[in-house]
C-alpha cells in the first residue's frame, strides 16, 4: 500500500459489500500522501451500528498507528465488541498491550491482536446474513383422522 487513498478504497469496497445497510458515512482526512485518518459509521437496518477510526501512517511498520472498531446492537446501543489500541495504563499487563478488545455490555477486556478491518466487516456480513435468513417452514400437522372400527 503506497497511499492513504488505497487504504480508503479497501475499506470502502468492504463496506459496499455489506448487506442490510440503512445508512453509512465515511470520511477520508488525508494529511499528506502517507498520513491520514479514515472514519466511518455504518448503521444497519436492524439498528445495529459499526463505527471505526484508523489513524494511518504508511511510513510506519504498523501503518495503523491508532485504531478503533466498534459494533453495537440495539437496544440502547449495547456493546458487542470494540477493538482498539488506546494505551490504558491499567492494561499494561495484557500480553497484547496496547492492543485489546472490549466485549459485551459488561465491557469485558481481553487480549487481542490488531484485527483486520476487512475480516471484521466480513464476519459482520456473514452474521447479518444468518440473522436475516428466513425462518425454516414449520411442519404442517396433519389432523389425525380416527377411523371408526
Amino acid at each position: 500500500m503506497e497511499r492513504i487513498g488505497d487504504r480508503f478504497l479497501v475499506i470502502t469496497t468492504a463496506i459496499e459489500a455489506m448487506p442490510a445497510v440503512d445508512r453509512k458515512r465515511l470520511t477520508l482526512d488525508e494529511r499528506d500522501h502517507q498520513v491520514g485518518v479514515i472514519r466511518g459509521e455504518v448503521v444497519f437496518i436492524d439498528g445495529s451500528c459499526f463505527r471505526f477510526m484508523e489513524h494511518l501512517d504508511l511510513n510506519a511498520p504498523d501503518f495503523r498507528r491508532r485504531y478503533a472498531y466498534e459494533y453495537r446492537r440495539r437496544p440502547a446501543g449495547a456493546l458487542v465488541f470494540r477493538y482498539d489500541n488506546v494505551a490504558h495504563e491499567e492494561l499494561e499487563e495484557l500480553q497484547t498491550f496496547p492492543h485489546h478488545v472490549h466485549r459485551g455490555i459488561t465491557d469485558r477486556i481481553e487480549c487481542a491482536e490488531p484485527p483486520d478491518a476487512v475480516e471484521l466487516l466480513d464476519g459482520l456480513r456473514r452474521q447479518i446474513q444468518v440473522d436475516r435468513r428466513p425462518a425454516p417452514a414449520r411442519p404442517v400437522r396433519v389432523a389425525e383422522r380416527k377411523i371408526a372400527g
Partner: protein, 94 residues
Amino acid sequence: MEFIRVVAPDRQFAGNALEWALDREIELARMAVQVSKDRIKEFEDKYGRSLRSALVRRGKVDELDLAEWEGEVEALDRLKRKVAALKDIRIWNE
C-alpha cells in the same frame, strides 16, 4: 550531512524543479501540522484539558475520539519533525 547526486539533461531545469517540489512539500507538511493542531483543539474544546485517564475513568470520552485524539497528538509530533527535516535539505545548483 549526507549527499545525493541527481543526474539530469538540464541542470538548471532540474534544480528549479527540485526546489519547487521541496517548497511544495514543506508547504503541504505545514498545512498538515495546522490541521492536526486544529483537530486536537476540537477534542480539547469538546472534552476539556483534563488528564486522559480521568476522562476515561469517568466514562466521559467516546473511545473512538480518544483513539483519534492520541493518534493526532502522535501525528503532530511526526509532522513537525518532517517539516524540520525538509527545511534542512539544501539544493546546490552551481
